[in-house]
Amino acid sequence: GAPLPILVMALYGRVFEKDPPRLGQGPGKLQ
């Protein structure tokens, strides 16, 4: 492979079991 001009590399993990009950913070959160 040719040498690459890398800006950013990432391994972006999501740990769903540690999430709050709902992702968003719209009005519904207040209901």
């Binding site: 492979g1 001009p5 800006l7 950013v8 391994l11 972006y12 009005p27």
Partner: protein, 448 residues
């Protein structure tokens, strides 16, 4: 059908004027028809090129500049698909529905599935404790009309983004799927892609082959740009993703594409013009039954077997989109580094063609709850170029890089199997798949 032609349209939405009070229904319909006029050209062009389905963006018909009150004239009653309705042939069956009628006729007249995002309204009363004070629910809604113009899917966006105060949260998350001659489809919207419900459930439990994804995504470098993030999601989840984004350069909204598990088929990223863009590509109808389907990855497989590389220098903090990462600088032109935060350790081995004095790179780790504009738990390993040679700028957006990497391998001790790999080159361009691979033991590495 073993394959099908997919189309997505990146639409430069014609936005309504910002108003304090609601406009008339007629004025609202005028604005929506201006946008549908543009979408109609894309639908016709896609159909003449053999597309079976076309996806248009979230907010693509009326934009996003609304309060709860001012969006009301743009909403229509959208029934559940079980009513078996073709709005094009029976427009008055559920009352005033000119937008659904027009979208249905677009699909029917061009024999193509049409996917759009519009607003649904549902009356409610005091017997319902969740009923808003104005006596109605307002939902951000995806609709799909099949090639006969029938309404086959209706999805109420579950994970609203913080600024979407004009809409209500549905009571429960709904997984919306439907079958076609070219595979099983699911549909969700924009911020939903971060979710377990409905995004992961749709793939893992309902086993869809392709996901339709209307979105209004504004890019936030370095980690939350549309094309890298969405293509990584398709690859990691093993499904086709048909992503249609809004186009608005002043809000950094661009980045649409058609992504298969094994490769990015086509993508569009344009920060230079205010034009829309139609993209088409052939896709496998059932990718998980193809020999090219990517093997599962044990994301912390490699790291469980190695000792942390000792770093002779101090770690330092840096912010990426409101999350505090722990960084360590890459001081040499080649080597191996480790940086840790809580339970996550990230490892990076590399060789640069030359160590430039005017560019600094850092390896970062984040293990925690992201809390701004939405709450979700992340474990992230990242290698990035700092904005300047000052380490305090690591994590700031950067547009170009001249340092060339001849070899690289990034891995981490992840506590999740849901890890989305991204590789972005100078100019925010995706790295072509031939230059990198994801090993079975979880390394994002160069193929040289």
């Amino acid at each position: 059908l073993d394959t099908f032609i997919a189309a997505v349209y990146e639409h430069a939405v014609i936005l309504p004027n910002r108003t304090e009070t609601p406009v008339s229904k007629e004025e609202a319909l005028l604005l929506m028809n201006k946008n549908i006029d543009v979408l109609e050209k894309a639908v016709k062009l896609a159909a003449t090129q053999g597309a079976h389905i076309i996806v248009t963006p979230e907010d693509g018909i009326y934009g996003w500049v609304f309060t709860r009150e001012t969006i009301y004239p743009y909403l229509e009653e959208i029934p559940h698909p079980e009513v078996n309705w073709i709005p094009c042939t029976d427009p008055q069956r559920f009352g005033y529905a000119p937008v659904q009628e027009r979208l249905s006729c677009l699909a029917k007249d061009n024999s193509i599935y049409v996917v759009a995002n519009i607003g649904d309204k549902k009356p409610c009363n005091a017997s319902d404790p969740r009923c808003p004070p104005d006596g109605r629910y307002q939902y951000n809604t995806d609709v799909v009309f099949d090639s006969q113009g029938k309404l086959v899917a209706r999805y109420h966006k579950y994970n609203l983004f913080a600024p979407e105060v004009q809409f209500d949260f549905p009571k429960d998350s709904e997984v919306v799927t439907f079958d076609t001659p070219f595979g099983k489809f699911g549909i969700f919207t924009c911020f939903d892609i971060f979710s377990h419900d409905p995004a992961v459930v749709m793939v893992k439990k309902f086993q869809v082959d392709s996901v339709l994804y209307p979105t209004a995504w504004y890019n936030t470098l370095p980690l939350l740009s549309a094309v890298p993030f969405h293509s990584a999601w398709a690859r990691a989840m093993g499904v086709n993703l048909l992503s249609a984004n809004t186009h608005n350069t002043s809000m950094h909204m661009t980045g649409s594409g058609i992504y298969a598990p094994e490769a990015v088929k086509v993508y569009h990223y344009d920060m230079e013009t205010e034009s829309g863009q139609l993209m088409l590509s052939e896709l496998k109808s059932r990718p998980r039954s193809e020999p090219t389907f990517p093997a599962p990855v044990a994301w912390s497989g490699y790291d469980k077997g190695i000792k942390p590389f000792l770093s002779e220098q101090l770690d330092f903090p840096g912010m990426i989109y409101f999350d505090e990462f722990t960084f360590t600088e890459l001081k040499r032109n080649a080597g191996s580094y480790t940086v840790c935060q809580k339970d996550l350790c990230c490892h990076f081995t590399y060789k640069m063609s030359e160590k430039r004095t005017d560019e600094v790179y850092a390896l970062g780790a984040f293990d925690g709850l992201h809390t701004v504009e939405g709450q979700y738990y992340l474990q992230v390993c990242t290698l990035l170029k700092c904005q300047t040679t000052d380490l305090r700028t690591c994590g700031e957006p950067v547009g170009s890089a001249f340092t060339k990497f001849e070899k690289f391998a990034l891995s981490g001790t992840f506590g999740t199997s849901y890890v989305f790999p991204q590789l972005i080159l100078s100019g925010s361009q995706l790295a072509p798949e031939r230059h990198y691979e994801v090993s079975r033991d979880g390394r994002l590495q160069s193929t040289s």
